[in-house]
Symmetry: D3
Subunit: 150 residues, 6 copies
């Protein structure tokens, strides 16, 4: 694991995004049910699972450092009835960036949406999942492709 | 969590896939280094992290059942120098399907590839992530979109 | 850890209960907000945390066996505006009982309710937490004290 | 998860308590055995499980922050032969309080006592579990009900 | 992860052993204190940590299968005042052997003894750690070197 | 858990070592295969498992504090074809030492080597495992026995 001992503690911030795509009939059924499946509220469940995944990032990704996460914020928005946009924002005072935490959170939130809705249709798909922006380290990053990088 | 107590124990099988997309310069650098980054071998690391994630699926996805996973198999193939295709195959004797395990494995393998390569470029992106096929339950499923569902 | 190798695999079933007691002003505020705190929906969050805790029981309680949990079901009911009743029901085909899983689920659900509502008042309290009923082993058990053992 | 990035790092301290109630015959048997069950020493085991649970609090309770716990201290005292009083004290230099860690520790210690003693009687019960005192944040808290808030 | 789906479910059994070596003064101090350090009872704590580690083996060792562990049994014996012998016995009905579980249990028990006693002397050492015997699979194994393979 | 709240935050550093001993035929087979077993690359896998174990040390060893690990570095060297030497170096800015983290990393790396190679011979053995050096606390430590303490 890369030694970050000589890096400076700064406020690290990152945003990642992912998407879940629903086949039309599944989308219609989900919206008709007020975004609840028989397992429970889809987006609330995804938010919780994503939050837990952010905190477990160093346990999932072999060379990630354990970081004292201070902020996790999700947004869920249907861009169309068939396309759910997920953003995960993470911040910490740390010696290294939190983009893996944000990506892991967005990914697990998307996987949870899949799990909550798969009884409707197994043909849901996830992605693209990517970093929208990152700041606090040596160089800032801002995606020129991300839907939420306005 | 859905009661699966009255379902039959059968051999459950699922395959999921994901993709990692590399910007051209990052792809060139990665191939020039024999698919090693300074953190280590990219695909071996992704395989291990993905394997561990399959086993932790029920811990990550709130309403997944803990299952006695018997087989986890990954394949990594560059379809082009800039596009890595990942498949994750999972099998278990169980009362419920293993498609979430396969999706979680493919996702965490892709996230790990990102982590191993992000020093090259933060603009890598992941997806689509989807179920390729599933069997052993009430109804089989085969994607008509997946790259590996030939 | 007790050897259960010579016990019979049967359908094991257990129900546990817990309670959360709210000071009057906190109860009034929570109900006025439709059981949402600023952190999110109180009962949905407790259900998810409790479900995850059931699955992690053997990781939390030193001498519990890892069991293939097949069913987890929570019920939340306000007996009075100031008294929330939680039941957690667990089932598995296993060689040993699931009462610790049910107790752990009820306890962590109650702790999560506390966490979601503590901004209203730190004086919430939890309990009694106890086994309501248990079946599938050598001897069945039914509490003569539990609120839900009717 | 609430952003605590703008809160001050201070020495955070909290004490929680719980109780385990034993039916008379179970209490007598446990004391006759020197507080050992056939699984091992009851209170030592509860202390260890509770300590581990304090450290896993952010993994169990969805919106708890991961904190660098510096101190965990348990006390176990039989107030009567049938009533065990457990206190869990936690401290950390952190931006947010440690009352959930203390509550989680006291709860899991109590659950472990149950598990160690349930062969004696399944009718043990746990609670009330509550915060005794908390300091280091914006406002201190001291319970007017807790047994250990003297 | 190797596919064990076509292997037979049998009663799998394994025993592993490890040793902890104490410098003379540390050994004398530990025995004078009745095998307690200021952190608590050394062997009880090691037994609990080792038990938990057996159950987490598949989470620690990348290609181990999750197994329904049914029996975990430790023995601790001072062969001399300066040499502690640890054995860990594991059993499960499973399609693959439990020797990694037994080795992991013995190792983490030994590490815990180190942690409990390191204030006495950092010069304690651990090992050899090895499989004593294994049965239930295609071929049985019995070490010709292990101290406990009599 | 010992209160470290009044200790100073300093750069803590520790190195531990372990050994894996291979019977001659197993050693020959492993080297002939370029240090790959049918499960994958032996040393890369051990490095990853060891790294993850360092980060999970406080979850495995009951009274270890959770620490913000900043550096983990492994070295693997065959001293003879039959003797693999593993060192694990850990560093963190913390109030307490990281020797348990280093020992845990070296131990789990050795266990993983065993798992990767056990199909060759179950007679591999592990150890001695010990602390090579430690610095950053009240008193530095340097082993007079360790192979890597030059």
């Amino acid at each position: 694991m890369v030694d970050v001992g000589n890096k400076t503690v700064t406020r690290r911030h990152a945003v990642a995004e992912s998407f879940v795509h629903f086949p039309p009939a599944a989308a219609a059924a989900l919206h008709a049910e007020g975004l609840r499946s028989r397992k429970g509220p889809v987006l609330d469940t995804a938010l919780i699972a994503g939050t837990q995944a952010v905190k477990r990032c160093a346990d999932l990704i072999p060379f990630c450092h354990p970081l004292p996460i201070e902020r996790i914020r999700f947004e869920f928005q249907f861009l169309t009835p068939e396309q759910l946009h997920i953003t995960c924002e993470v911040a910490a005072e740390a010696r290294t960036g939190v983009e893996m935490e944000a990506l892991t959170g967005a990914s697990v939130a998307a996987l949870t949406v899949y799990d909550m809705c798969k009884a409707l249709d197994l043909g849901l798909s996830i992605g693209p999942t990517r970093v929208v922006e990152k700041s606090g380290g040596k160089r800032d990053f801002k995606s020129d492709q991300a839907a939420s990088a306005s």
